[in-house]
Amino acid sequence: MASSDSEMDRRAFLKATTAGSAVGMTALAGCTGGDGEGGESGDGESGGESEGDGESVESNLPTYTYTNNAQSYNPPRHDAINLIASQFDEELGLDVEVDVLEWGTLYSRVTEEYDYSFSTWHTFFVSEPVTELNNLLNSGNTDPGQGNYSGYENAELDDLISSYLGEPDADTRVDQAHQIQQMVMDDVPMMPITQMPMAAIFNNNQVSNWQADLANGFNSYWTMINLEMEGDETVLKGYWPETLSTMNVLGHNDENKHVYQFNMMYDYLVQLNNNAEPDPEVSLATDWTRVDETTMEYTIRTGHSWHDGEDLTAEDVAFSYNYINENEVPLYSTQSQYLESAEVVDEETVRVNMAEPLGPFNLAVANLLPIIPEHKWADRENPSQQNIEEPVGSGPMMFDYWEQGSEFGMVRFDDHFAPVDFERRFWRVIPEASTVWENLISGDLNYEPFGRIDRQLNENQENENIGTQFEVAATFWHFTPNERQTGLDDAEMRKALVETIPRTAIVDQILFGFPDPGFNVVSPAFGPLHTEDVTEYEESVEAARSRLQEAGYSYADDGTLIAPSE
């Protein structure tokens, strides 16, 4: 019996991480009912507690399915899921099958069809954590595709989140955010397995001064305008494993590879500094005022222009907000929910009217909606499906070329109010990780925008040409049980599951010690919004089993978990 502690025996660990299929076979051989009903055991004898002799008893809990991505899609996460599933199966006495699926299938299986028991992937919280939690855990979002795929319902939490979102006072919001976290971690509808770090990986002979921001890490606007080029180097040279899909800022799918380009090509009303605070020095709006609960006024920077030389005006800003709202641009549908309209007050002022009160409007909307040129977009219908070949923005970098499948390049916009130090930036498509590292070490590339935590990083981080920097990020690998399934709606069961997950072993042995074990869905990266004062769960199979037994669960002689009868 391995693994009640965070330190796992190496052999048991290796066996477990490759045991996905074995776990599945166990489930099949167990012949347990998938409907949660008790029933006859495999040999025809009736269920109930057995008396020694290795006699098995059929569990009155269903066979659970843990969805897993393919090994090739994300090797460490694939191994981690196999490990957790084997712990649930062998240590906690559940019957668990691992279902390996291609990503698109996995995602719709979990979020649309709810045909799963446990799910895990990399969750990205952007600059406002409570709007994310509202999407993921609100009791009103439990229909397919609405966001709450866990099926968690808690009216008290809904009210608290609603108060937070309408609260204009930042200090009050901080208190409310803490209460929300405490409530969530008490019930654990979702648990962070590992708190993933943001990693800056670069050639230290060519570029320095890496400062991360919360949402986009070391690929943020703040990072780029603060980077310093070393020696004679004037080009920032990055890569991505696969090609960009589009140059349409209103028609992409929010993948990082697109966000990281558009956040340099376009301006946003409000930009954040590395403390996640709106910073008027580097934003298109030089000042802002909350007029009332549902109205914000922004002073727009004068003398700024678009990349094609046209003036950027308050009309452009109001147009952008109204255009995105009226055309119901799917990518920004969450932000549009809060928008009523935008209007020009005078040459320098734009008023934004909200559809409902939203306290953190700057973080949740003004920081995320791009300002687009009216003279380019006014005649375009169906904006999300436009095929844009040469985008025109007003950000610190201008579109230069896009050789599809091969390379994308931008050049510096010299007239920008927050200029970058490098003259050009390109991204080359390189799918092969070892090639990337050869190029990074030789200086043909000088940064790794992906920040990939893997064996290559572990092996190369000590190279004299390589610099690394890590910051705690707002992202994590989540563990989410589907509360629609028998047994998983019980908070004690969920807590026991969480205690069984070997978070430290996953961090140390699968992720080379780079991340931290997770303990709170709102990461310390959120600064004052985060609190350490939440229920913490130890990593102990013994604790999990004791918890279940205290809650009325019992174990058959063969270790099968039996739920308390109604």
Partner: protein
């Protein structure tokens, strides 16, 4: 049956085959599990917005309506618009296919010239050390995975000796400098990048024509007319290349036609290892992302090329060997 009626019959078969391929593709992609919009949408998107997007792609229409629209578009050679990039599929194909063709055709020509020549020689010198060496080489070339050979080539010649570029079709950071595709293809930089992936692919493809040619040669060399040639006092070289090899060439025609057809589909592994922006990688990406229009469009182009080249090979048989009739 005359040549004209043969062509007519085969043309009709070709149309039916293309319809069948299109129908199978349409069905296969719709039967695949998973939501095609899951890669297009953001996790931030509301359910209404998602539904709106599905409707805009026509994915909420009944299957038969989608099928009829698909067939209409197929006849008009309109493959639709990519779900992912919003580009017309023809533009996507036009972007990636030329890159693949340059790589694959280079490899194909090297492989078939070398393969046929070595096949002729190994058949002629049957039982010699040369034959044993070429057969072992051919079997090795066909057996070792191309990505593995590619990685070894990159490691030795790229990372260790730095004599070949590590990735792509042009040097890093030079994108946008070429004014057109042909401008790029005829540049020295491009040729340097082409050498390694083309050689690795040629090494892999070479084994097939070599082995076919060798066995075909062995068959031809046992025929009476070879003795007649010798009796006429022709030189060994003339007999080998002008008489034996020419008569042994027929099976290669079919093999080459099919291989050329597959070449249009690119080589996903080589394109990945050498970061070559070809159609193979794009095709796989489209399938994984449930980008139906791009996946269907690329597969149909691939299938059509194989079908047409097979047809062309059938016609060429009659020209190459007058004994072949069209009955």
């Amino acid at each position: 049956m005359g040549k004209a009626s043969f062509v007519l019959r085969r043309t009709l078969q070709l149309v039916v085959t293309l319809w069948a391929v299109g129908t199978v593709l349409f069905g296969l992609f719709r039967l695949m599990p998973g939501d095609p919009t899951s890669y297009v949408v953001s996790s931030q998107m509301t359910q209404e917005a998602r539904q709106q997007l599905i409707e805009s792609y026509g994915l909420n229409d009944p299957l038969h309506v989608q099928y009829i629209r698909f067939l209409e578009n197929l006849v008009a050679l309109n493959f639709g618009q990519s779900f992912h990039s919003n580009q017309p599929v023809t533009d996507v194909i036009a972007t990636y296919l030329p890159n693949t063709l340059v790589l694959m055709l280079t490899a194909f020509i090297i492989a078939y010239v070398l393969g046929i020549t070595l096949g002729v020689l190994s058949g002629w010198y049957r039982g010699s050390r040369f034959e044993r060496t070429t057969v072992i080489t051919a079997l090795t070339a066909r057996s070792v995975p191309t990505f593995y050979v590619g990685l070894i080539v990159l490691w030795i010649f790229g990372a260790t000796f730095n004599v070949i570029p590590m990735s792509g079709m042009t040097s890093l950071g030079t994108g946008g400098q070429n004014t057109g595709f042909f401008d790029m293809v005829f540049s020295l930089d491009f040729l340097k990048h082409l050498v390694a992936p083309a050689s690795v692919l040629a090494f892999y493809y070479m084994g097939y024509p070599l082995l076919i040619m060798r066995s075909s040669m062995l068959e031809v060399l046992s025929e009476d007319f070879i003795d007649v040639c010798r009796a006429k006092g022709l030189t060994e070289r003339t007999i080998m290349f002008k008489h034996a090899a020419r008569n042994a060439l027929l099976p290669i025609v079919t093999a080459a036609a099919i291989a050329l057809g597959y070449a249009v589909g690119g080589s996903v592994l080589i394109e990945t290892v050498f970061a070559w922006p070809g159609i193979g990688r794009e095709m796989v990406r489209a399938v994984l992302r449930r980008d139906f229009p791009v996946a269907q469009g690329t597969f149909i182009v691939l299938a059509s090329t194989i079908i047409f080249l097979n047809f062309a090979a059938d016609l060429a048989y009659g020209y190459l060997d007058p004994r072949v009739t069209y009955d």
